[in-house]
Structure formats: C-alpha cells, structure tokens
C-alpha cells in the first residue's frame, strides 16, 4: 500500500510540473461550456456569419437542458477521448523510454504496484478535469436553458465516468505494450472509435459493450429512466476494465526492460 501511495504522489508532482493540472481542466471546461453558449447564441451566430437574403426567417427550436448536456457529453466522447488518450499515453511508455522504469523496479516494487498507482493518478486527474468541466456546463445549462435535476446530472456523470475508466485502461494497456507514443494514441483511439461504431450498427448484440454506456447516459438525461440493460452493461464494463488492467500488468512483466 505504501508503495502505491509513494508512486502516486510522485506522479501527482509530475502532473503539477508539466502544468497538466492547469490545462486539462481548462480544456474540458472550455469544450463543455462552449456547447450551451453556442446553442444559446445560435440565431445571432447565423445572423452574423451567413449572408442570408433579406427577410429570411430561421426558426431553431430551443433545445432542452438535457439535450444540451447530452451534446456536451458526446463532445467529450470525441475530442474528449482524444484528450484522455493523449493524457494517459505517456504514463508507462515514457518511463520505459527514459529507462526510469528499470531504476524503479530495482527497488522492492511489484509491477502491480507500479501500474495501479499510475492508473489511479491518471484516473484522478482526468476525472477531476471532466468533473469540473461537466459541472460548470451543468451550471450554464441551468442558467440558459431548462433545468436538469441534480440527480440526473450526478447519475449521467457517474456512468460516463465508467466509460472514462475503460478508455484510460485501454490506453495504458497499449502503453505497456508499445514504446512509441504515436502507436499508443493511434491504436487506442482506433479501438475505442471502432467499438463505438460497431456498437452503433449492432445495437442489439452489443448491449454489454462499454460504448453502450453512452446510450444509458442518453436515456437517463432525456427520458429520466434507466434502460433495463444497465446492470449488465455496468458489470461487463467493470469486468473488462479489470481484465485489461490484469493483461497490462502481465505484459509489463513479460517484457524485457
């Protein structure tokens, strides 16, 4: 336990040094609050940007607060995934490339301790960033559009968080397989996007997949109810996360460092 805490603290220090604690929350907040604000000012933006003929009437239905929040989350699962992957890509591979993993492993530190503490560090900073960004978006949405209840907000946030855990685990797993950051970003982004696309096509067969969590979030926000596959979805996603962590530790052990 003590080993985990030490590496975790070292990782946090590294985040502070590389200003990650500044830019990651700000970027997630910007992506988040852009959504309600641009939706709110859409008529003015169209007015200013498009050279419409005189007298054109554009009627845009005002979206509900839930719709705006859902749009933000779908932004988070496109640009957001890329940011998460970029944030988590170097955590293992940089240590391998600089050779500092060897000097860590000389000490009585198991690969499990090493990996888990890095994983927790990534989870902490990414979930904090998304929490701040999503929270401020919720505030703006309630200000500018119809109210979304606190319960729906928290539930959608927690379920999205499971999806984020999955993304972090996949990225760090590729991080323990490959050395090059480009390969890590490419393969994790490709895998996660492919899973989301397959999930969109074979919706009936893919009820267990972590990408399906986005549908659960949608149902909570828009219809205010759980899909009946929620329990299956959560269990399978958590099991997959544990499996991926196990595989990553195993590959890390097998590798010649």
């Amino acid at each position: 336990m003590r080993g985990i805490w030490i590496i975790y603290k070292k990782e946090m220090l590294e985040f502070t040094r590389s200003s990650k604690w500044i830019w990651l929350p700000i970027v997630f907040t910007l992506i988040g609050i852009m959504q309600p604000i641009t939706s709110y000012y859409m008529p003015q933006i169209l007015d200013a940007a498009g050279n419409m003929p005189e007298g054109t009437i554009i009627k845009i239905p005002t979206p509900s607060g839930a719709e705006v929040l859902l749009k933000t989350l779908s932004q988070y699962s496109t640009i957001g995934i890329l940011l998460i992957v970029i944030s988590a890509m170097g955590s293992i591979s940089n240590e391998k490339n600089t050779g500092s993993i060897t000097s860590t492993m000389v000490r009585p530190v198991s690969y499990f301790t090493f990996f888990i503490s890095k994983w927790f560090a990534q989870v902490t900073i990414i979930s904090a960033s998304i929490g701040i960004g999503y929270g401020l978006t919720w505030y703006y949405t309630n200000l500018l559009f119809s109210d979304v209840s606190f319960k729906n907000f928290i539930e959608s946030c927690v379920i999205y968080f499971i999806y984020v855990l999955f993304i972090i685990s996949v990225t760090m797993c590729f991080g323990s397989v490959f050395r090059k950051n480009g390969a890590i970003v490419g393969s994790s982004f490709l895998l996660i996007t492919a899973l989301a696309i397959v999930n969109g096509i074979f919706e009936k067969q893919m009820k267990w997949s972590p990408s399906n969590l986005m549908n659960q979030v949608g149902s909570i926000l828009m219809d205010n109810k759980y899909l009946d596959t929620l329990a299956l979805n959560l269990t399978s996603s958590l099991l997959m996360i544990f499996g991926i962590i196990f595989v990553s530790i195993f590959t890390l052990q097998k590798q010649e460092l």
Partner: protein, 62 residues
C-alpha cells in the same frame, strides 16, 4: 437580443489563463522540442488549440 458579456466572460478568462500559463511554462523551460520562438508564435496566434499543442508536444520529456 444583445450579447450578454457576463455569459461570454468566463470563456475569455479561461483562454487567457491557458495562454498565460503556456507562456510562463515556455519561458521557464530551458529547452523545448523545437525552437522557442516558433512555440511563442503558436501559443499567441492559434487561440485555445495553440497552448494545448504546446503543453502536449512542446516540453522535452525527461
């Protein structure tokens, strides 16, 4: 409907923080990957994305 600056202000403030912290980090850094003045231009001229690109790729690892 006039633009309400109270709503827009937070975005501008956040972007300012991003640029300032990127500049601070750039000047503190002894060596960046690639020439410093290019990073300076990127941070100042490309809004929002510029500082992020600097934070991700600009710092030398190790």
């Amino acid at each position: 409907m006039a633009i309400d600056w109270n709503i827009i202000a937070p975005i501008l403030v956040l972007q300012l923080i991003l640029v300032v912290s990127a500049l601070y980090s750039l000047f503190k850094q002894e060596e960046t990957s690639g020439p410093k003045w290019v990073w300076l231009l990127i941070i100042l001229l490309i809004s929002t994305i510029g500082p992020i690109i600097y934070f991700i790729f600009g710092r030398k690892k190790y």
